[in-house]
């Protein structure tokens, strides 16, 4: 069974962390992943940096730009991760924009992911219909789960369609925003979390965007199976360096 499905069957709420590979320094990637697992993080999204990250706010934009400046490329990331499964057993997901994957070659990209032991992909600008038409069979051939986003504006019919195409979890974007731009959740978010929970989808939901402390983590996981933290973790890396990952995780739960 895929590590994502397995992890989501555990009874606990899932804490997932996103970071930009190659940030703050090019060769920090593996150490950050290992430290996150050691400190009890349940799942990791490894950000493949892109020059033009449309869905991201300034924090992730800047860490991506710095990572590219440090020399991060798709091949460098694969090389860094080649032995990751000797030390890390939690689910690992690569999150990146479509163009770098397209240039690497989708089939070759998936093949490399499978060889490394990557469990899934999140590609914000690959729409679900294009995926279903053109890429689903390739992803499935290599055992990769493709994770789709939904937002408060996503229609019920489309959520049902996304649920039918998904096998892993649904990435619930907390509010209409790019990453890193929210401060706390209000009643409209809670209503949205509850509405989705009541749809009884076959895939569990993990909330992302706007989670930056214990309070927002708890709010997000009141209805959902887990939550993803990105910008807040990257800010912490920027300010405190890679040596204080334990400290960050403790502030969340």
């Amino acid at each position: 069974m895929n590590r994502i499905n397995q992890k989501l069957q555990e009874s606990k709420k899932i804490l997932s962390i996103y970071f930009s590979a190659g940030y703050p320094s090019l060769n920090d990637t593996v150490q950050i992943i290992e430290d996150l697992e050691k400190n009890g993080v349940d799942m990791i999204e490894i950000g493949l940096p892109f020059s033009d990250p449309l869905a991201d706010g300034p924090t992730i934009q800047e860490s991506s730009t710095q990572a590219l400046h440090n020399g991060m490329t798709t091949q460098v990331l694969f090389d860094q991760l080649k032995d990751i499964r000797k030390t890390v057993s939690i689910p690992l997901i690569i999150m990146g924009y479509f163009n770098p994957m397209l240039q690497y070659g989708i089939e070759e990209f998936c093949k490399q992911c499978a060889a490394i032991g990557i469990d899934g992909l999140i590609i914000p600008d690959l729409p679900v219909d294009v995926y279903a038409d053109s890429y689903q069979s390739t992803f499935e051939k290599y055992g990769l789960k493709n994770i789709f986003l939904i937002t408060p504006q996503t229609s019920e019919a489309r959520i049902q369609f996304i649920d039918s195409v998904s096998d892993g979890f649904i990435y619930m974007v907390s509010s209409a925003s790019v990453t890193g731009s929210q401060t706390g959740f209000g009643t409209s978010q809670e209503a949205y979390f509850e509405r989705i929970a009541n749809m009884n989808l076959k895939n569990p939901q993990v909330v992302g965007f706007g989670i930056n402390n214990a309070a927002t983590f708890q709010q997000a996981t009141q209805y959902a199976k887990g939550a993803i933290i990105g910008s807040a973790f990257i800010k912490h890396l920027t300010e405190k360096g890679t040596g204080s990952i334990a400290e960050f995780v403790k502030t969340i739960r």
């Binding site: 892109f50 033009d52 706010g57 590219l68 798709t74 729409p127 937002t151 996503t154």
Partner: protein
């Protein structure tokens, strides 16, 4: 072969809507409504009336006598430089603002490179009394100061894009992020035939008035609707799309697209997408795109802010890949020389973007009986600072 968009939003293999889910409801709303709304008689009546009374259409098709003598061929200029606001851009913003109003939107955002689309958007927002926010690269804000001032006078807020190359690509990123953050009340007026479907098709349709008029005007002047050549500069490609639109399926009309070579196609400082680009995804569209082997988008360069874009609209990518259009690229130096030459020969100071198109006359040989229509897409007022610095005027 069809050169128009298919029902799925593709031109051949190019186009589509590669957008984050956050934008899906907005783009889908537009996709479902744009053909229906623009076909309504009340829409067409208002659109045509504004183009006529406010923009000043039809723009003349001017026979450039002295230029024709020099190059021993028949050269006509489509005078989009005479449009209100100084360029063709306003044809599209009039269309889109009418659409935005009918969709009940109250807040308008736009990106701009040279500032022409920003001014055209600020203008129609003032006309309709709607809030207007224009994203513009920090570099472009400096080199297009008069247009920034115009936008401010028209009541728009100009927000600098400070990421990446700080030019058109980055301004577009910021506008898209704004739309993600404001999905309900906001309409994004894209300025070129780029972005996710239906934008490329919608913008091409609004600009197609250019070639519609060329046909009627040429029939009157030459007794035939079709010229031998239509020529336009291509950044994202909106003036070109409008110039080609009604000639796409006319096999006897040669289509010439002129791109900005910057300091030279192989100099590393260029915006010649057809020569340097590979298939990729930018701003929601699969198209030809300047990028590294790793798929990172390359920062383009052209002296002309309006051509300083690393991609090209999917329609043009298809015209290039299918061989329907011939693409040439013109350096800064050639374009700037044409800025002077057109001024001195015909008394027309062109926008630097448009000046690129005229260099086709040096690059290609035309027969005396050929009819060559060049789209003079904008006037050069906004570029005076650049002309002054370049030529020490």
């Amino acid at each position: 072969m069809s050169y128009n968009v298919n029902e799925k939003g593709y031109y051949g293999e190019f186009g589509g809507a590669f957008i984050p889910e956050m934008l899906y409801p907005n783009v889908e709303e537009l996709r479902q409504n744009y053909l229906k709304i623009t076909a309504e008689p009340s829409f067409q009546e208002e659109f045509d009336s504004l183009l006529r009374e406010y923009v000043g259409r039809p723009t003349p098709l001017y026979f450039a006598k002295r230029l024709s003598e020099q190059y021993n061929t028949k050269i006509y200029l489509k005078r989009e430089d005479l449009c209100h606001t100084g360029a063709h851009k306003v044809n599209n913003t009039i269309g889109q603002i009418l659409l935005a109003k009918r969709l009940g939107k109250t807040r308008i955002i736009a990106e701009t490179g040279a500032g022409q689309h920003g001014v055209a958007t600020a203008t129609v927002c003032a006309l309709m009394g709607l809030e207007c926010i224009v994203y513009m690269g920090e570099v472009d804000i400096k080199r297009q100061a008069p247009n920034v001032a115009r936008m401010k006078m028209l009541g728009a807020t100009v927000r600098p894009a400070t990421s990446g190359s700080k030019t058109l690509k980055d301004a577009t990123n910021e506008a898209i992020r704004d739309w993600i953050n404001n999905p309900l009340d906001t309409y994004y007026i894209i300025g070129s035939v780029v972005g996710p479907h239906p934008y490329p098709d919608m913008v091409a349709r609004f600009q197609s008035v250019i070639s519609k008029e060329i046909k009627a005007q040429l029939l009157e002047k030459e007794g035939r609707e079709n010229p031998d050549y239509v020529v336009a500069c291509v950044g994202g490609g909106s003036n070109a799309a409008g110039t080609y639109y009604h000639f796409l399926d006319e096999k006897d009309v040669n289509i010439i697209a002129v791109e900005a070579a910057g300091l030279g196609v192989d100099s590393g400082e260029s915006a010649a997408t057809s020569a340097l680009g590979k298939v990729g995804v930018i701003h929601g569209s699969k198209t030809l795109l300047m990028q590294t082997t790793d798929g990172q988008i390359t920062e383009p360069y052209s002296i002309s802010a309006g051509l300083d874009y690393p991609g090209v609209g999917p329609m043009h990518a298809h015209l290039f890949a299918s061989g329907r259009a011939q693409f040439i690229s013109i350096t800064d130096a050639q374009a700037m020389d044409w800025g002077i030459k057109l001024s001195k020969t015909e008394g027309l100071i062109p926008a630097i973007e448009s000046a690129h198109a005229f260099a086709v006359l040096d690059e290609m040989k035309f027969k005396p009986e050929d009819i060559v229509v060049i789209n003079l897409s904008g006037r050069g007022d906004k570029d005076l600072n650049t002309y002054i610095d370049y030529f020490n005027l």
